[in-house]
Subunit: 256 residues, 2 copies
């Protein structure tokens, strides 16, 4: 693991691969799980893309993202069926061939014996130069090559594999966040004091996320930054600015 | 609405705008809702991107997507606060200015009277040449310009606005889908018969989506295509192929 520092920014992108996400059949939850996991390691998720199970689309998106960000994490398309083409696409993006990894073949032979057929052996293929990502849940491992980590699409397996990704990341300064909640006042009244405080703290990010539930409305104001002292001070400034603007009851809450 | 035909393919992309999605704070559900809505209109969602509340990122992603696909639907960033910059970014992407739309100003004046402040007026701004997208839920409308529809990020409002998008789309041939479920057999055994049937029907898409729940495992095999007769025939062929491969109990189910 790299040396974290107070200002280091480490960036990542997520590439979600799968027709089932774009057809609306399946609700993706992997992106959010990865975002939260990366945040703990001080890595900023900067972009996410979802592409279909189409070779050229996967290659183009992967090459765009891996060039631009420190890390890319892909999910989906590493099973044994004909529509699982992520390994082929990653190998093509890196301009290398796939080869059956002896450790995966050994695991598979132990598990399947004579039932180790061609489809299952597809899952033993790793791009030359790649390394394995442990799968503590079920089935064969994922892999990593260059700055790309290739994980399963099934959420419980993806989360298990992610535990073997974190220790390999160069870590940045963790982004801390606090939330100030305002009830009974719309964003239109909150905007001016919020913007004034945001402008006074250009290294921080202040966002407003309105809610409307069961007759209750208001907004959660989320403050994010890498300096804890500044963050705490900004929360106070914001509550003061809201109060001075005639908005009652702004208070810090535990993040939703 | 355009003339649907048996083979017309109409494409779309979704652009999700918002730091709260990339930080992991908020689980996006808009992409899936849009995918399902577009599918009913015979429009294929081909790609989705999630970008932060950063002007250049929004502009670059929007320009890439609107050039490539028939339609782009954006969500998020159209509220009154300083971090809501979607309208500015869309105007910049099209190289036009924003102006306050008289219909929105009139609605706002009726709603807010003397409380119609600068922040709320930000939400009246529409790129020159744009048209409004009705908001039947709450707050100001969205807008459309060129092949881009700009909707709210709050899911209930987004879904309401979407109802005013469908009637404006050129519609394609609807993609139909059927699902064959196999229980107690892993994908490794299913792969060969599935691939054989897929190869015999190159205009269709066949995908395998494994499940593991409470001791039950297996896979949902999803068949998708625009020709209903071929779809029905392929379901039969697949069940036959699975049975001949020694896989018991494959049966068609209502889609999950």
């Amino acid at each position: 693991m790299g040396e974290p520092s107070g200002t280091t920014v480490v960036t990542a992108a997520v590439l979600i691969i799968g027709d089932e996400i774009l057809s609306g059949r399946t609700q993706d939850t992997n992106m959010r799980d990865i975002a939260k996991y990366l945040a703990v390691h001080g890595v900023d998720l900067c972009e996410a893309r979802t592409v279909p199970d189409v070779m050229d689309e996967i290659i183009a998106a992967l090459n765009a993202l891996r060039e631009r960000y420190d890390y890319v994490i892909t999910t989906g398309g590493i099973g044994p069926t004909h529509d699982d083409i992520t390994a082929d696409a990653v190998a093509a993006a890196f301009g290398v061939a796939l080869e059956e990894h002896p450790d995966i073949l050994a695991m598979m032979a132990a598990r399947w014996g004579t039932e180790l057929n061609a489809a299952r052996r597809r899952m033993a293929r790793v791009p030359i130069g790649g390394d394995l990502v442990k799968n503590p849940v079920q089935g064969p491992p994922g892999f990593t090559i260059g700055n790309v980590f290739v994980l399963a699409g099934v959420p419980v397996i993806m989360r298990g594999m992610l535990e073997d990704v974190g220790p390999r990341l160069r870590t940045g300064a963790v982004v801390l966040s606090r939330t100030v909640r305002v009830e009974g006042t719309g964003e239109g009244a909150i905007a001016a004091p919020l913007e004034a405080v945001a402008k006074a703290h250009p290294t921080m990010s202040l966002g407003s996320y309105p809610f409307f539930t069961e007759g209750l409305y208001g907004s959660n104001l989320v403050l994010r930054g890498r300096d804890e002292n500044e963050l705490v001070a900004t929360v106070s400034e914001l509550i003061t600015a809201l109060t001075e603007a005639g908005i009652p009851g702004a208070k810090e809450i535990l993040a939703a």
